[in-house]
């Protein structure tokens, strides 16, 4: 039997569809093709197959539609612990009950992995603590592919996601306009920023507030009802849009800064930009959950850090923002060479 082409996609993420095919010189005689899949591997599609039988993980192809070509698509539909999983798919060609040709395809599935390398278990706050260099966490990114990281922080109560910087910027300006009732100026700015981008963003944030989500900054609980009513009042929409266009330059700067902060290391995207948390007077501990997912939106088990806080400041009443400094250690592997880069 002479093959013109034998192929299986050389690497994939969990849930990624993996195509494979065999294409041979037409004079080859056979009457059935039997394909054995490992139990974890799910068959998603068959190419050029007229009729087949499936029993558990074995497929018997009785007839092809045309020509001398057979193909399939498989995927591993569950997440696993190892960074690399290797499986085999066996293909046998039979003629009159006798095996006349065999081929083995190797499936290589890789996943990214985030793990904690270094974090304090305890922090002491004094009057002369340098907060900018207080909380340092080292994380290791290993395995394969890009990950999106999202932080959830709790300072006692429930876990809250930190808002995107642009959300803070836009909402802060909305709050200022609500407070001062300032009328927008008519001065035009010649900034070529994608207007759809800002519109979409502003809309997203307004919807968030409309759902009753109170921003964690700039507005007190007692004022929120009034602010909420101001936001949902359609008469104020024009004012909000003009406010955004008037501050285009700030928003552009904010967006650029966010863009640069979003990608702190190769293969890592921090969805909320540079992280920080608000430390209030009664804060005694801090829990941070690092959620992460790959390019196909597979969500992996999060990494959690718990830190006790000992507040020795003389003026404890003053809340402050504590930056979370992250250090990324890379140990990614290349699927082609199957070893670390």
């Amino acid at each position: 039997m002479k093959f013109l082409s034998k192929y299986i996609a050389p690497w994939a993420l969990p849930n990624e569809e993996i195509p494979a095919h065999l294409f041979w010189v037409p004079d080859f005689q056979y009457d059935a093709i039997i394909v054995k899949f490992p139990p974890d591997i799910i068959l998603k599609d068959l190419f050029n197959v007229e009729s087949f039988e499936q029993k558990d993980s074995i497929i018997t192809v009785n007839k092809l539609k045309t020509g001398n070509f057979f193909g399939f698509v498989v995927a591993l539909e569950k997440l696993f612990e190892e960074q690399h999983k290797k499986e085999q798919i066996l293909i046998d060609f039979f003629s009159k009950g006798k095996k006349v040709y065999s081929h083995v395809f190797e499936v290589n599935i890789f996943r990214p992995k985030l793990s904690l390398k270094e974090a304090p278990s305890r922090m002491v706050l004094t009057d002369d603590t340098d907060v900018s260099n207080l909380l340092n966490i080292a994380l290791e990114v290993s395995g394969f592919g890009q990950i999106e990281v999202r932080l959830e922080i709790s300072t006692g109560g429930e876990f809250r996601e930190r808002a995107e910087p642009l959300y803070r910027e836009i909402v802060r300006r909305m709050i200022a306009a609500f407070r001062t009732g300032e009328e927008p100026e008519t001065k035009e700015k010649s900034i070529k920023i994608n207007p759809l981008y800002l519109q979409k963003k502003a809309q997203e944030y307004i919807e968030k507030i409309e759902k009753g989500v109170r921003p964690s900054f700039g507005i007190e609980k007692e004022d929120f009802v009034d602010f909420y009513n101001w936001i949902i009042d359609k008469a104020n929409r024009g004012k909000i849009v003009e406010l955004l266009s008037r501050h285009l330059e700030n928003l552009l700067i904010e967006s650029l800064i966010f863009y640069f902060e979003k990608h702190p290391a190769d293969n890592v995207a921090l969805m909320q930009g540079k992280p920080a948390t608000l430390i209030e007077s009664a804060t005694q501990g801090l829990s941070i959950r690092f959620h992460y997912r790959d390019a196909l939106m597979n969500e992996y088990e999060p990494v959690e850090v718990v830190i006790a806080i000992e507040d020795k400041r003389t003026q404890k009443a003053k809340p402050f923002e504590l930056p979370i400094n992250l250090k990324w250690i890379q140990r990614t592997i290349s699927p082609i060479r199957g070893r670390e880069l």
Binding site: S5, P19, K44, D45, G145, L256, Y259, F260
Partner: protein
């Protein structure tokens, strides 16, 4: 494995249909019936002239089809015995594109479109004295049908080796049973796969720290002005001015520069694709919630047919070279006068 998969199954099941919306699957079946019916009706119209399919092309990218028939229209006295009109109704779904006189190589232009009856009419009395003709007709193909005919896939993440990012690409004919009769002549052209090449991180490392500092001071300065903090405003203004002397680019210019560096025209220089694939459109992927495109969409195409029912290969992106060049471009824009380090 779930219980459904444990059951033995016999028969002609298309696996994709089990995942698909049943109404959609039904419409695909209906459409494939239609295309077969259309072709049968067309053959019936052409029957007196012994039609023979010479080529059946499907253009995946345009979602169009093209069929070429070889026709024998007797000349001289034998033509008189035949009906002297050739008619093709428009409702068939194919439109007449061209009729070629194979004896002389000229294009026959003597045909009319009858608007009242919606059909093309060839008056054979006006035809040249040739016997062999090639008739080309064109039609449209739905996305549903295309998805049933061909399958395309590309790696979600690249593998990395020696500064080069590689993405695997695979395309294959999936089900050509509806077109089986024409299989030998069938050509599915420009089967298109989109590879999304990530560039998100590269600008972060290519932007000099002074630029980020200028952005940061600019932000603080505007805040100070807004709050009316005169002292802070003065201090920041001095700092901002000194940074402005070093960093010549404004945020707007920087944004525009980055947009140029992710444009298809610039990006194509760093790409290579294996045979039999060729490049189609290359453009930054515009996502509404991202200010700078984080991915560039690279279309790669190939033809699939009897001799090549499947195609495989890699798209390579010269990552290291790209980072070096964008860094150089950004430095030139940001520090126009400063002596730059030679690479």
């Amino acid at each position: 494995m779930d219980s459904e998969n444990n059951k033995p199954y016999t028969g002609e099941r298309t696996l994709t249909q089990s995942k698909m919306d049943p109404t959609k699957a039904l419409s695909v079946v209906r459409e494939s019936v239609t295309i077969t019916e259309q072709l049968a009706e067309l053959a019936e119209c052409l029957r007196p002239y012994k039609p023979e399919v010479k080529k059946f092309r499907i253009d995946y990218l345009d979602r169009s089809s093209e069929i070429k028939y070889f026709l024998e229209i007797p000349a001289g006295i034998r033509r008189k015995i035949h009906r002297n009109r050739l008619e093709v109704p428009a409702r068939i779904g194919f439109r007449i594109y061209e009729l070629l006189d194979l004896d002389t190589g000229n294009i026959v232009s003597q045909f009319n479109y009858d608007t009242a009856e919606s059909k093309w009419i060839f008056d054979l009395n006006t035809f040249p004295n040739s016997e062999r003709y090639l008739l080309t007709l064109k039609g449209n193909v739905s996305t549903n049908l295309l998805n049933r005919i061909a399958d395309v896939k590309a790696a979600a993440n690249p593998s990395r080796d020696n500064g080069i990012d590689k993405y695997w690409i695979h395309s294959a004919l999936k089900d050509v049973s509806i077109l089986k009769r024409w299989w030998d002549e069938l050509d599915v052209e420009r089967v298109n796969a989109d590879v999304r090449v990530g560039v998100q991180r590269y600008f972060t490392s290519a932007i000099p720290s002074q630029v980020r500092e200028r952005l940061d001071v600019g932000r603080k300065l505007m805040d100070a002005i807004a709050r009316g903090d005169r002292n802070l405003e003065q201090r920041l203004k001095t700092k901002y001015r000194s940074l402005q002397k070093i960093v010549k680019t404004s945020p707007v210019e920087l944004y525009e520069l980055i947009s140029t560096l992710v444009s298809g025209g610039f990006f194509v220089n760093y790409l290579k694709v294996d045979d039999p694939f060729v490049f189609g459109a290359i453009e930054p992927l515009r996502q509404l919630t991202v200010i700078i495109p984080e991915k560039v969409k690279v279309s790669v195409q190939t033809d699939l047919n009897f001799n090549q029912p499947a195609a495989r290969g890699n798209l390579s992106f010269q990552r290291t070279k790209y980072i070096e060049d964008i860094t150089d471009n950004i430095e030139k824009a940001v520090f126009p006068k400063k002596k730059r380090k030679k690479r």
